[in-house]
């Protein structure tokens, strides 16, 4: 494999890791606050459709992004109401969100556009365009570093840079702000937070809303940047890979970036090669498809470093009377 091919695969890795990273950070905020979320997939899907639909009609990717985030927030609100106010089962609520999005997006797409559950293809200002970073052309002739800067670092769309900027930001919010401390406390020991006079429900709703916004960006990125329009079930399990990455990262932002880049790389390799010849042993493409899930099960099993979820995760908080 030559240098140019490696760069192309890494470039594709960054593109494919972006929705995973956004969804993974979304899940991180929710789960660190004690709200399990297996509905990441559904929220992304809802956002992907509404962002593509609004962008297609208005011709503005920014209106599309706003609509996508709004749709994802509605889903997050349902999940929040079920998990926080009505103290329902968070896992079941997540399953319901996934199906609700899978069904509604196609039903509405068919009604609005009559194109078999897809939106029209997005062109021009209805999509996020690649951004050429300063000096990318000037530095291109430099050996090694020039092409890396030109191909790999420059030339991505805005949500890609946003996603990677959100990693240190999330770390800072979680570990260095009062809100972050409360958010982590509500996921580990909500009684303590309640005793301190902070509303458990409000903190959890805030976390679920952040999760909704980030899933919204992830879905909009899928439909308006990575691809040009919405097709049925276009998230294709990415919400679950993000969930896997979240466990892989043990619910921490920097590790989340590492895990999503790893899973993005696996997707990029699977996309480029059908079968991989490792000197006699041929790895079928399905191994790449299954690897993120297998790795996550291994991590969950605790054979390679144990993944321990937030202690109060999944259980509704009932205030003492």
């Amino acid at each position: 494999m030559d240098f140019a091919t490696a760069l192309q695969i890494l470039d594709s890795t960054v593109r494919l890791a972006t929705p995973l990273l956004l969804a993974c950070l979304a899940g991180l905020f929710s789960e660190r606050a004690g709200i399990f979320d297996i509905g990441l997939e559904g929220k992304m899907l809802a956002s992907a459709f509404f962002s593509a639909a609004v962008a297609a009609v208005t011709g503005s990717v920014w209106l599309g992004l706003s609509a996508g985030i709004a749709a994802s927030l509605v889903m997050a609100a349902i999940h929040g109401a079920a998990s926080i106010s009505f103290r329902g089962n968070q896992l079941i609520s997540g399953v319901a969100i996934n199906f609700l999005a899978a069904g509604l997006t196609v039903v509405i797409a068919q009604t609005w556009f009559s194109q078999g559950g897809r939106t029209p293809s997005l062109i021009g200002a209805a999509r996020f365009e690649p951004i050429t970073l300063p000096l990318a052309e000037t530095l291109h002739p430099l050996p090694i570093l020039g092409p890396i800067y030109h191909e790999l670092i420059s030339g991505h769309t805005l949500p890609v840079y946003l996603a990677f900027a959100l990693v240190p930001l999330s770390w800072w919010v979680l570990n260095r702000t009062r809100f972050g401390l409360r958010l982590r406390a509500v996921g580990e020991n909500p009684e303590a937070l309640d005793t301190a006079g902070v509303s458990v429900a409000a903190t959890r709703y805030a976390a679920v809303a952040i999760c909704g916004v980030l899933c919204g960006i992830a879905g909009a990125y899928l439909a308006t940047a990575l691809q040009a329009g919405f097709v049925k079930d276009m998230t294709a399990g990415r919400g679950f890979i993000a969930l896997a990455a979240l466990i892989f990262a043990k619910w921490r932002p920097w590790q989340a970036m590492g895990a999503t880049l790893l899973f993005g790389l696996l997707q990029a390799i699977a996309l480029r090669y059908q079968n991989i010849d490792l000197g006699g042993v041929v790895l079928p493409v399905q191994v790449m498809d299954a690897l993120p899930y297998v790795l996550t099960v291994v991590i969950l099993a605790g054979f390679v470093g144990r993944a321990i979820p937030p202690r109060a995760g999944g259980s509704p908080y009932i205030k003492e009377r």
């Binding site: 079920a82 896992l91 079941i92 609520s93 399953v95 199906f99 899978a102 299954a290 099960v297």
Partner: protein, 365 residues
């Protein structure tokens, strides 16, 4: 303290109210996309129940959902959430295919028990690893079974594309099963009684096996020591442990039974309908099992009724998609709303009803 509500309200009224809410919202969605919900319901009823052809499809779908619903229900009884019915049913299909293709079966009566055993074993095996990880290492069974669904899809994809596909065939599927494995359809079964059931509908003898499975699951859960232990563990883990019940044994038993039931679905769709193993043979039935188990309150009889309802919705939905502009995905919306209201928003329905019953009782006293 007495229960806030009489038992019948808990078992019948709450699911019913949840269902009404789910259907009301679905009707609003149909209105919103500019269709007539009343006409839609009429079309669904005539399409799914108006002919033996419609019934044949309704019962065929219901058979799938009984198995996956029972699978989720048994795990629920031990307070385990098995989302992996989809993957377990896929692997069940592999078991059925391997057995049907391995021998030149002379008669279905011999092939059926063997295939059912294969389906149950493969389904149980696919549930065994998540079960064991939950039981011994505390890995959350919800996450591991989700992961195993995707791993199952990859495994099946590999086997069908690279290994089991007949030479020269284009589509990723196994060869057609030998004729000796053809299961009698409801048409064949009812003909001797002079009842002309549709020849084209896929409902087959597996429907009777599904009913037997309901009875068997009821017997296991409520008439055996193991079933008692499973339910006790589901009610209160510390109490069960105090009573000497071994958690590892219960988690393994509940999940293996659950996986076997999900796997058994393959007898219906792979052996009874397609008569070969294709990619995506399960078509989401594993997930519908969640809605069915929630609505059926994890009781075999409830699961049976809920599966019939979802069978009706599936066949009715197909008819709708055929004759109106309402896409088939409308059923997925209804399914989501049923899961939402009967599962996640249970308290939203329960709290006001409890208050109502308390007020009534106070009024009487």
């Amino acid at each position: 303290m007495r229960e806030a509500m009489p038992k019948w309200a808990d078992l019948v009224l709450i699911p019913l109210v949840s269902l009404v809410l789910a259907f009301a919202l679905s009707a609003l969605v149909i209105l919103a996309i500019g269709e007539d919900p009343v006409a839609a319901v009429r079309m669904m009823v005539s399409g799914a129940l108006g002919s033996t052809y419609g019934w044949g499809y309704t019962l065929y779908y219901a058979t799938n959902f009984i198995f996956t619903g029972l699978a989720v229900a048994v795990a629920f009884q031990a307070r385990l959430f098995n989302i992996g019915g989809e993957g377990q049913a896929m692997l069940g299909g592999l078991g059925v295919a391997l057995i049907c293709l391995s021998l030149p079966w002379p008669h279905w009566a011999l092939a059926l028990p063997a295939a059912a055993l294969g389906a149950a074993l493969f389904g149980a095996a696919w549930a065994a690893i998540p079960a064991w990880l939950q039981a011994t290492r505390g890995s959350h069974v919800v996450i591991t079974t989700i992961m195993f669904n995707f791993i199952a899809a990859a495994v099946l994809n590999y086997l069908l594309v690279n290994v089991m596909r007949p030479i020269g065939a284009m589509d990723p599927a196994t060869a057609k099963f030998p004729p000796g494995t053809h299961l009698p359809s409801l048409h064949d079964l009812l003909a001797p009684f002079g009842f002309a059931f549709s020849r084209a509908a896929p409902a087959n003898i597996t429907f009777l096996i599904a009913i037997a499975a309901c009875v068997l699951v009821w017997l296991i859960l409520w008439r055996t020591r193991l079933g008692y232990e499973i339910r006790a563990y589901g009610h209160s883990e510390p109490a069960a442990i105090y009573a000497g019940i071994k958690p590892v044994r219960i988690v393994m038993a509940a999940m293996l039974i659950s996986g076997a039931l999900a796997g058994l679905m393959a007898v219906n769709n792979v052996m009874g309908e397609a008569e070969r193993l294709v990619l995506n043979a399960v078509e989401g039935a594993g997930f519908i099992g969640i809605a069915v188990a929630l609505m059926g309150r994890s009781h075999p009889f409830g699961v049976f009724l809920a599966a019939l309802l979802f069978g009706f919705l599936y066949q009715g939905g197909a008819e709708l998609a055929l004759w109106t502009d309402i896409p088939r995905e409308m059923i997925v919306v209804i399914q989501a709303l049923v899961i939402l209201f009967t599962g996640a928003l249970d308290n939203m329905v329960r709290m006001p009803l409890e208050r109502l019953f308390l007020a009534l009782r106070r009024g009487r006293a």
